[in-house]
């Protein structure tokens, strides 16, 4: 059953079917909140809050865009609100009040296909740096990086969600990656493997 059909049934008086919507989108929304909050322990509460927000506003879904676009729009806006309110906390990968298990979950889920312990450690360090750098990006860049790389959305979908032309989305993504590179270089204290190579053709 399509999302839009399911929403229509829920609105006709079957609110318990909203669990189906939660099941379909929980991983994607949770993934967004974890990336936006930089692994902050609020990410779980934030994801729950987004679903409550969706439920409360379900009647206002008019079907002008697909349900997923509408849901992502609500989610991204809510996450950006969170970022504005918690600017100070975003540079910490792991918030001090987080439970230890959650910290381990967040890091250990990063794939470690590399062999030696040194390489595994290096990969974890790189990932930490990357998440810190993403957290430091301006909002408009952060949103496109998260949606493109962690949600695998197309430029068109991102444009619909953010109400931006496709060209602007492309530009934001390009600049976001440039900014990420600069931040990673800064974190490593200067010239590193992230440094720009200019290749003559």
């Amino acid at each position: 059953m399509r999302d839009e059909e399911l929403v229509a049934i829920i609105l006709k008086g079957s609110p318990h079917l909203f669990s189906e919507i939660v099941d379909r989108y929980k991983d994607r929304i949770f993934n967004i909140t974890v990336r936006f909050t930089n692994g902050h322990c609020d990410s779980q509460d934030l994801a729950q809050e987004i679903f409550l927000l969706v439920y409360r506003n379900l009647a206002s879904f008019r079907g002008q865009s697909s349900f997923s676009t509408w849901l992502y729009r609500l989610s991204v806006n809510r996450c950006l609100d969170w970022c504005r309110k918690n600017k100070q906390n975003q540079t910490h990968v792991l918030h001090p009040i987080c439970k230890e298990e959650f910290r381990e979950d967040f890091i250990s889920q990063i794939p470690t296909e590399l062999d030696t312990p040194e390489k595994v450690l290096l990969k974890k360090e790189q990932d930490r740096n990357l998440h810190q750098a993403i957290a430091l990006l301006p909002e408009k860049y952060k949103a496109v990086v998260i949606m493109y790389h962690f949600q695998e959305l197309s430029y068109k979908e991102m444009g619909d969600i953010l109400h931006l032309p496709v060209r602007t989305v492309e530009t934001h993504l390009y600049r976001a990656k440039q900014r990420l590179k600069e931040l990673l270089i800064q974190q490593e204290g200067g010239v590193s493997r992230w440094n720009t190579k200019i290749v003559r053709i």
Partner: protein, 130 residues
Amino acid sequence: MEHKNSTHLKSDQPIEHLLATQAFISAPDDFTIRVMRKLNELPAPRRALPPVYQQWGASFVAAGLLLLLLNNVPIIASITPFSQNVNMHTHRAILDLDTFSLETINMQLSDGFYYFTDLLTKPLRSLSNL
């Protein structure tokens, strides 16, 4: 041919690789149960009337009121004597100083206001007679 502008950045590659090797983080197993537990405390969402229907509804009400007003001819007709009465006596009071007296003006104006009061109360009386 040597192109001065034929340089391009290949620097995205390591960043792209790092971004591509990030894992997808799943929600906890009991996430849906927790969300549904919280949702049960909220009132069920209901489909609001689309704006088009709301506008249609408002238009019907407005049209109904207009018809009620137009069908009640004595109400409209009573407006004319009222305005005529006020105008006529005001002008006469100014132009014809011989007939000017406060008592006359008061009396004739009160006739006008009688029509006005009647005009306002007539719809209410009509409704109560229904």
